[in-house]
């Protein structure tokens, strides 16, 4: 993937293309440490050997079939306590980008992307660096299953599996970068409520009863997301609980 045709102002103008690396987030963070970046720099690889999911989990992507990239942003305007709005804005960007290629995608709180049938299409991992009460730099790592047809786990899918056609990775990247930049600029404009509304509009299981486990299995209904990013779930006895990602499992 040597040329991308993203119609952006700054995102992806500097593109670092690696044949192989441990993790594009790690490369991006090292670029920041060495000062060798501009806002909007994108690191992309054909083969990620040690992709990061959450702290101990890993993200698997088959070589050359899927999209794995990280972008560097410098949201110095954003107060630290609004960090979840940043997460929502980036998730919305991925949604919009995928909508142009495939259709409506759902977000599984906080940052996984699901097909309409609820299969995992991709995920996102954000690593920030904070200076006092403000953001300094942010690395947004995004993985999207694009042309892979078989998966080691049953609950995964790809754009090609969903639509039956294959995609040019450069086109998918261009669509995502364009949409991510647009959402980032919305955040910069302070459109916090619109960002949250769009995120909730696409939130998987919002407002419907389903099974969860927070140590005990229970039937609950997602009511929304707190400004801190906590997931708000109402239980059948009328009580509302707020959860961190590690405290709750979707059954």
């Amino acid at each position: 993937m040597h040329k991308i045709l993203a119609n952006t102002i700054f995102l992806g103008k500097d593109l670092i293309n690696l044949t192989e690396c441990h993790s594009t987030n790690e490369i991006a963070r090292n670029l920041i440490k060495n000062g060798a970046y501009r806002e909007g720099t994108v690191v992309i690889t054909d083969k990620q050997t040690r992709g990061k999911g959450q702290r101990n989990s890993t993200w698997h992507a088959a070589t050359g079939l899927n999209l794995t990239f990280s972008i560097i942003l410098t949201p110095g305007f954003l107060p630290v306590h609004q960090h979840f709005y940043f997460n929502m804005a980036m998730a919305n960007g991925v949604l919009s980008g995928l909508a142009t290629l495939y259709g409506e995608v759902q977000i599984k709180w906080p940052n996984d992307f699901l097909s309409a049938e609820g299969k995992k299409l991709g995920g996102m991992l954000i690593e920030n660096s904070l200076s006092g009460r403000l953001f300094d730099t942010s690395v947004i790592g995004i993985g999207i299953n694009v042309n892979q047809f078989s998966f080691p786990v049953p609950n995964a899918t790809s754009l090609a599996s969903l639509t039956g056609k294959s995609y040019e990775l450069a086109m998918v990247l261009a669509a995502l970068l364009g949409a991510l930049e647009e959402q980032y600029l919305k955040l910069k404009d302070g459109a916090l409520e619109a960002i949250k509304r769009r995120y909730l509009d696409h939130l998987y299981r919002l407002g419907s009863w389903a099974e969860y486990n927070d140590g005990h299995q229970f039937t609950g209904k997602i009511l929304g997301v707190a400004p801190s990013g906590h997931l708000l779930i109402s239980k059948q006895n009328g009580e509302t609980q707020s959860y961190e990602p590690k405290q709750i499992r979707f059954i």
Partner: protein
């Protein structure tokens, strides 16, 4: 891109274990390939280039001793590094890595001292002061509140 930036990029790539790197921007195209035989840790250049992912270097002992003279719970001017958010406090980048800072380390303003994870967002916290780490107030991997003191720092100019 300036010559210095290219130099830094090459240093970064040679330290990274990558075999091949292609970079393309509006202004230039750069392709770097490392020979398989080239020793990876060929850190010949001793000019000031931070090595990615290396553990923070302990300061020379002499400097440490000089400070500890005046120290010992003389709480006269210790400053706190506080948590900017609710989350989980981590002292290292991942479970296998060394701690960002240890007691006795001299840290610089802007240096990463810990990670606070909140809602799957990983936030590196930079120290706003330069000085010596006197105390670590929170256990690794434990929950922290907004504004909770994390480290005690003896400021240095």
């Amino acid at each position: 891109m300036k010559a210095k930036e290219i130099q830094e990029l090459i240093d970064f790539i040679s330290n990274s274990g990558l075999a091949e790197v292609k970079i393309e921007t509006d202004e230039f195209k750069l392709s770097i390939k490392k020979h398989a035989e080239a020793p990876a840790a060929k850190a010949v250049e001793n000019h000031y280039t931070p090595i990615p992912a290396a553990a923070p270097n302990p300061e020379p002992a002499t400097q440490k001793e000089a400070v500890s003279e005046s120290n010992e719970h003389a709480n006269r001017s210790l400053l706190e590094v506080k948590s900017p958010m609710i989350g989980t406090f981590y002292r290292s980048a991942n479970p296998d890595a060394d701690f960002f800072v240890n007691i006795g380390d001299t840290i610089q303003k802007g240096q990463t001292v810990c990670i606070i994870e909140a809602m799957k967002l990983f936030n590196e916290v930079e120290s706003e002061i330069s000085g010596k780490v006197v105390k670590v107030l929170v256990e690794d991997a434990s929950p922290v509140e907004y504004d909770q003191p994390l480290f005690l720092i003896e400021p240095q100019d």
